[in-house]
């Protein structure tokens, strides 16, 4: 850990990993999109996944909350193994929050309603309590005044922050981010990254697929490089950026930095 990182140190070694991916393979028909993925994530660890497009990084994190099915291997999230069993899937999904590249807010609901729909219908929280929870998280993402607006009435950066707040209202143990800033205008990227940095500092377990290497350097405990469906290299940020081991990693870094 270097002096640049001011975030909490994740627990390592003796505690059980919160996510275990063991020998995971996935095919789309004949196309082998994920090859022998092995990954352990400790609670409160922050992981950044990077790689060229088509490398399978989004697919991998979407397997973690079963938006995609894997065909071989095991994925165990917080002690629950992901199989065809619906009950397991639903249990995992309440503990894993996801933020999408294109926000995916519900356009027919107000921002407040977007945030309360999960707690009210999944956790059976009474409406008033759900609304207080929602306002609390809207303040954390710094847009409480937009509660009664509709998603179409706020900017992209604000929409993505609403999306983050929406996931947080379910009090997940793990947050997955699938290229959260890739669809944003440059001036809005910072406001979203700031929220994510705050979240990291609070101790949330995060897996972030992104090209924002500044974020990786500030907050990540580990950076993982994927290419052609494989995890090629993983390391803590300074070692990763200053001393890449594989040729493919060096090539990728030379292209984006």
């Amino acid at each position: 850990m270097t002096t640049e990182q001011t975030s909490e140190q994740p627990s390592t070694g003796n505690s059980k990993p919160i996510i275990e991916i063991i020998g995971m393979h996935k095919w789309y028909d004949d196309f082998h999109v994920l090859k022998d993925i092995n990954l352990e994530v400790q609670p409160q660890e922050r992981i950044v996944v990077c790689g060229p497009s088509g490398s399978g990084k989004s697919t991998m994190i979407r397997c973690i909350n079963r938006l995609e099915e894997h065909q071989r291997g095991q994925i165990i999230v917080n002690g629950t193994e992901l199989t065809r069993d619906l009950k397991n899937i639903e249990r995992v999904r309440t503990e894993v929050g996801m933020v999408f590249q294109h926000f995916n807010l519900f356009p027919h609901l107000t921002i407040l309603e977007n945030l309360t729909v999960g707690p009210i219908w999944v956790r059976k929280t009474p409406k008033k309590e759900a609304e207080e929870l929602a306002m609390h998280y809207l303040e954390i993402v710094r847009i409480p005044e937009q509660a009664q607006k509709y998603p179409g009435q706020v900017s992209g950066g604000q929409q993505q922050r609403v999306a983050i707040a929406r996931s947080l209202c379910m009090k997940p143990k793990i947050m997955l981010f699938d290229e959260p800033t890739s669809a944003l205008d440059p001036e809005m990227i910072k406001e979203v990254l700031d929220v994510m940095v705050d979240l990291a500092r609070e101790g949330m377990t995060m897996i972030v697929v992104t090209h924002e290497m500044g974020f990786a350097k500030t907050v990540a405990d580990r950076v993982i490089f994927m290419d052609f469906g494989e995890i090629v290299e993983e390391n803590e940020p300074n070692a990763f950026f200053d001393n890449p081991q594989h040729e493919r990693t060096k090539l990728f870094l030379s292209q984006i930095l």
Binding site: N65, L67, E90, R93, T94, V96, G97, M98, F100, H102, N104, L105, F106, P107, H108, V117, G118, W121, V122, K149, Y150, G152, Q153, V154, S155, Q158, A163, R166, S167, M170
Partner: protein, 368 residues
């Protein structure tokens, strides 16, 4: 180079470009083709309209007998006025015709009141239940000292409204369920939905009505009969639902996959996801074709003549077979067309209103 502020003179646009003249120029005469079309259409209207007005209003007779009508030059609106009770109420017993009249007034009043969604609450629900009960009692009789009138005698406008109202009300949810069934991953449900939809869409409504009236009773045990109007109603519901199902399926396919993913990521189960997130958006997308199907369903009620039920179109036809009134079909059908038009136009107006209410609010320009 003067530093004083210069008042810019108000320059008005050229007079031939604004106001009435401008409008006419831009909308009717912009370009050679449009100008010619305008002249042709106006010429046509100038020829037709005065003649029509003379026929329909100036030379027309309104309250005469059939014989006197033949002698007159203009339209014979008497064919409607003298036969109005049969036209509207059909074979319903003459002295009891106040009952379907009251029933229709209740139905239309309730529909008009319920147009505003802000008024939808528990009280309104109870009011509807009570109204339907009252309408049923009024039509059927047998209770509260009312003379029983069997349903085969229900005819004319009350029958048309009855079959359309329940047809529309019941076929819509059934169609939505079928559309969801067709998307289902469970093979039995999917197979059933596909077979149902494809078979029903493959036959005309007349076939279904015919089958419901002639074939279906053959399968019933001795002595068991099912009300004829009920059979027609069920046929209309089953028929319309198949078409609604395909339109809703189109709406579901048009949905952004991300909506499903966001809903699933939150942990919503299938029914919650459909009810709260997907269907509100998908059904809204397909309001235009849905309303088209429902308007067609309204007009298709006239096909029940095939099973000897006489809706308003067929009572009209019956009037025209009377030798006294034969030959005045134009006037009679204009009247019927107006009734159908009022009903169908109201439906389409209402659908536009719903669409406007459901528009997603967004900023007119980019940015917060």
């Amino acid at each position: 180079m003067s530093e004083s502020t210069v008042r810019i003179e108000e320059i008005k646009p050229p007079s031939s470009d604004v106001g009435m003249i401008g409008w006419v120029r831009h909308h009717l005469f912009n370009g050679v083709f449009n100008s010619i079309a305008t002249i042709v259409i106006f010429g046509f209207l100038i020829k037709i309209i005065p003649d029509f007005i003379r026929w329909a209003f100036i030379d027309s007779v309104w309250f005469t007998s059939g014989k006197e009508c033949h002698a007159a030059q203009g339209a014979c609106w008497s064919v409607i006025t003298q036969n109005i009770r049969f036209n509207i109420f059909g074979y319903y017993p003459f002295e009891e015709q106040w009952r379907p009249l009251v029933a229709m007034i209740i139905l239309i009043s309730m529909l008009v009141y319920s147009r505003d969604w802000n008024r939808w609450n528990k009280m309104l629900g109870y009011a509807w239940a009570l109204s339907l009960f009252i309408m049923g009692v009024l039509m059927k009789g047998g209770l509260f000292g009312l003379v029983p009138v069997e349903s085969t005698k229900w005819s004319g406008l009350p029958l048309t409204l009855l079959l359309s109202f329940f047809g529309i009300l019941m076929s819509y949810p059934l169609g939505v369920v079928l559309a969801l069934g067709r998307q289902s991953r469970m093979p039995v449900i999917k197979a059933f939905s596909v077979v149902y939809i494809e078979i029903i869409r493959g036959v005309p409504l007349i076939t279904l009505l015919f089958m419901s009236s002639v074939m279906f009773p053959l399968f019933l045990p001795e002595g068991v009969t099912i009300d004829k109007v009920l059979r027609a109603q069920v046929a209309i519901i089953l028929f319309t639902a198949a078409y609604i199902a395909e339109v809703v399926r189109g709406g579901l396919q048009a949905m952004d996959k991300g909506q499903y993913e966001a809903a699933e990521s939150l942990g919503l189960n299938y029914f919650q996801m459909m009810r709260l997130i997907i269907l509100p958006q998908a059904l809204k997308i397909v309001i235009p074709p849905t309303v088209g199907i429902l308007i067609s369903a309204f007009k298709d009620t006239s096909l029940v003549v095939i099973i000897a039920l006489y809706d308003i179109l067929n009572t009209t036809k019956s009037i025209l077979t009377d030798p006294e009134w034969t030959g005045f079909s134009t006037e009679a059908y204009i009247f019927i067309a107006m009734i159908y038009y009022i009903c169908c136009f109201s439906m389409s107006q209402y659908s536009r209103r719903i669409e406007k209410q459901l528009e997603y609010k967004h900023t007119p320009t980019q940015g917060p």
